[in-house]
């Protein structure tokens, strides 16, 4: 029978993950499956943010996990696995995006769901959404990725810097630029709707 369900500390989780990585290095399929289960949603989130398209994001996640496995021997012991994997996924997503841009086949991001509200509120929200979407589309790619990964997905500055292979200062710069643009949109909308 199992002992009391004590919460797992971050240190224990890291050690557990380090054990999984060592097992994967030895070819343990169950350990790899466990890592996939733990990280695929976040990896998909990053890929989706960068690509704006589900199918491509799924492909990039699969490729990212395989690439991580192929170079797992170079993975430094004691480092967290998640950011390392996300960096690989983000790299692949960015490369795919560049390739797609060359083919002029950039897809329009999939639509959004709306909650239950009055028609006037719904119209207002819809307008704000549209304006923010337009503003996001006008942003340079790096600014949009940084602001989405930071403000929506909750990644930290250093995590984004590692993922997108940028200096932290560059991440700050992009975040600052994106926020300025988007806050202006929000401010104009507030003034108009009051």
């Amino acid at each position: 029978m199992k002992a009391s369900a004590r919460p797992v500390t971050a240190r224990e989780a890291d050690q557990d993950e380090a054990r999984l990585v060592e097992a994967v290095k030895a070819g343990n399929a169950a350990a790899f499956d466990e890592l996939a289960g733990r990280h695929m949603r976040r990896a998909f989130g990053v890929a989706y943010r960068l690509l704006g398209q589900r199918q491509d994001a799924e492909d990039v996640v699969q490729e990212g996990f395989l690439a991580a496995l192929l170079k797992i021997d170079s993975f430094e012991r004691g480092r967290p696995f998640g950011p390392w994997l996300l960096r690989i996924v983000a790299n692949r997503a960015i490369n795919l995006r560049k390739a797609r841009a060359l083919r002029h086949a950039d897809p329009i991001p999939d639509g959004m769901a709306s909650g239950g509200e009055s028609p006037a509120e719904a119209a207002q929200r819809s307008e704000l959404r549209r304006e923010l979407q337009n503003a996001l589309e006008q942003l340079p790619d790096e600014q949009r990725w940084v602001v989405e990964l930071f403000e929506i997905d909750g990644f930290t500055g250093p995590e984004i810097a590692e993922m997108l292979e940028m200096a932290e200062g560059t991440v700050r710069w992009h975040l600052h630029g994106a926020r300025q643009t988007l806050r202006t949109v929000l401010a104009h909308f507030d003034v108009r709707t009051r």
């Binding site: 070819g27 994001a57 991001p109 959004m112 923010l132 930071f150 700050r172």
Partner: protein, 132 residues
């Protein structure tokens, strides 16, 4: 340096979350994605298991071979060990019985039995000085 910039802006975050699609609500079949990830990795995982098996077999085999080689070398009759107790004064193999019958002093006898391997000791024995 305090990092004001890396503080989240809840209002902007909420507005952006509403304006952009939530990746986790994109109708992803997570079980299928996990299966596909595992399927693509299976060949590499099999290769790694095979490589590990080879290493696990190779290490004890090399160890065993090394030990066997050491034993063989240490027992080799032609070993040029001046102090080997089984070597006679004349340099040929000598049995314990021959040694007992040999006409040598006590010191020489002890030196031969103990395997004294210092050249000076052996010279002393040869010069008939007795104790090594």
């Amino acid at each position: 340096m305090t990092d004001e910039l890396f503080r989240r802006d809840p209002e902007l975050g909420a507005a952006l979350a509403e304006a952009t699609a939530d990746p986790t609500n994109e109708g992803v079949d997570w079980a299928e994605l996990r299966r596909a990830i595992n399927a693509r990795a299976s060949l590499e995982l099999t290769r790694r298991r095979a490589r590990r098996r080879r290493v696990l077999i190779a290490i004890p085999a090399s160890l065993a071979a090394g030990i066997a080689l050491f034993v063989l070398v240490s027992r080799a009759p032609g070993r040029s060990d001046l102090g080997a107790p089984a070597n006679s004064v004349a340099g040929t193999e000598t049995s314990i019985d021959e040694l007992l019958d040999a006409n040598v002093s006590d010191g020489q006898f002890r030196a031969l039995l103990s395997g004294a391997d210092e050249a000076n000791d052996l010279l002393s024995i040869a010069a008939g000085e007795g104790q090594p």
